[in-house]
């Protein structure tokens, strides 16, 4: 009877240990895949998870064969595999780097540029309209403070919005878009405005709107990334 009881206890403990080990590995894989959410498609994340899982269990088995307990073998395997957050960052770097028109980065770059275009085109059109209205009506922008405020603030707002919508390489997307808009603005301004005002408008776009927008986008992107990390670390700590 006693031997039967102790055998059952042993089986329970073994099962419990296996459960704990499984939970520990699953937790690690969650931490590895969490930062990839929103950047990599689900199928790709699942593939990465399955591959890491297979690797970790093989590694655990090997540590166990070398004489470590189940728990210590699990910890050793996880430690040898690396910090999940850093590995996720490395995977993200791989995902967003590369070359070639048919590749993912090019697709990403197109999406980023389109988003930046959506953020910048409307404010730029409004600015052009304001300049045109006030110059042609001979009021002068300097006499309408809110219009000047709009001209100064709109690239910053558009940059912040772009930085929020484009998680990586937002400043580059802004530069791509602003160069196009500046060229378009140059033609439009020279056709529709007096030459001097047209020149000033294009100059303003090139000297202020482009760098201010790109800087705002970059800073917002950095802040957003930092916030995401804090949220992720808080989730990890729970």
């Amino acid at each position: 009877m006693l031997s039967l009881l102790s055998r059952t206890d042993a089986a329970c403990t073994e099962e419990e240990t296996a459960c704990r080990q499984h939970a520990r590995v699953e937790d690690y894989l969650d931490h590895l895949c969490a930062p990839l959410v929103g950047s990599l498609p689900y199928a790709r994340r699942q593939e990465i998870r399955r591959e890491a899982e297979a690797h970790l269990y093989t590694s655990i088995e090997e540590y166990r064969e070398s004489g470590l307990s189940e728990e210590r073998a699990t910890e050793a395997a996880l430690q040898a595999y690396g910090t999940p957050y850093r590995l996720a960052q490395a995977i993200l770097d791989t995902w967003y780097s590369g070359a070639g028109s048919g590749t993912r980065p090019a697709v990403y770059s197109r999406t980023a540029t389109l988003r930046a275009f959506a953020c910048f085109s409307i404010p730029t059109a409004i600015s052009a309209f304001l300049v045109e209205s006030y110059v042609l009506a001979d009021i002068g922008l300097e006499r309408v403070p809110w219009a000047v405020l709009w001209l100064l603030a709109s690239p910053l707002l558009a940059g912040v919005l772009t930085g929020w919508l484009v998680p990586v390489r937002s400043a580059r997307a802004v530069v791509n878009v602003m160069v196009l808009l500046a060229l378009h603005g140059m033609v439009a301004a020279l056709l529709m405005l007096p030459r001097r005002e047209g020149f000033y408008f294009v100059l303003f776009q090139s000297v202020y709107s482009l760098p201010a927008g790109a800087l705002a986008a970059f800073l917002t992107q950095v802040v957003c990334r930092h916030l995401r990390r804090i949220v992720f670390r808080t989730a990890c700590a729970r």
Partner: protein, 115 residues
């Protein structure tokens, strides 16, 4: 400051391609083979191999295929492609040129010419 990890990181594609040239392997086996060949003298976190494998796969230098053996966990087995072999040859040549140049600089070879 000397950082061995930088040296390893810069040459991991060469190491991985060289291992895969000798036969298709899954990630864990690639690591074991690297350890076997180097006597475990190259130390890096095992997980860092995978982003490198994904990058090589994206560049078309290796291809990965899932294998489902009975009673085992599915594994992704990587094989080198003809483009990968060509890249390996290119990297090997560059590596040889680099190491022989360094050898000359540090005086390991007799044909080093003083300026």
């Amino acid at each position: 400051m000397y950082d061995e990890r930088e040296l390893i990181r810069g040459n991991t594609p060469l190491i991985v391609l060289a291992v895969l040239r000798d036969g298709s392997q899954h990630g864990y086996a690639v690591l074991q083979e690297i350890n076997r060949r180097t006597g475990a003298s190259l130390t890096f976190k095992q997980g860092t191999l995978y982003p490198m494998l994904y990058a090589l796969e994206d560049d078309g230098l290796i291809v990965g295929q899932w294998e489902h053996a009975q009673g085992e966990r599915p594994r992704k087995v990587y094989s080198i492609t003809p483009a990968g072999v060509a890249e390996l040859e290119k990297r090997l040549k560059a590596w040889e040129t680099f190491t022989s140049a360094i050898q000359r600089v540090i005086g390991g070879l007799p044909d080093a010419q003083p300026s």
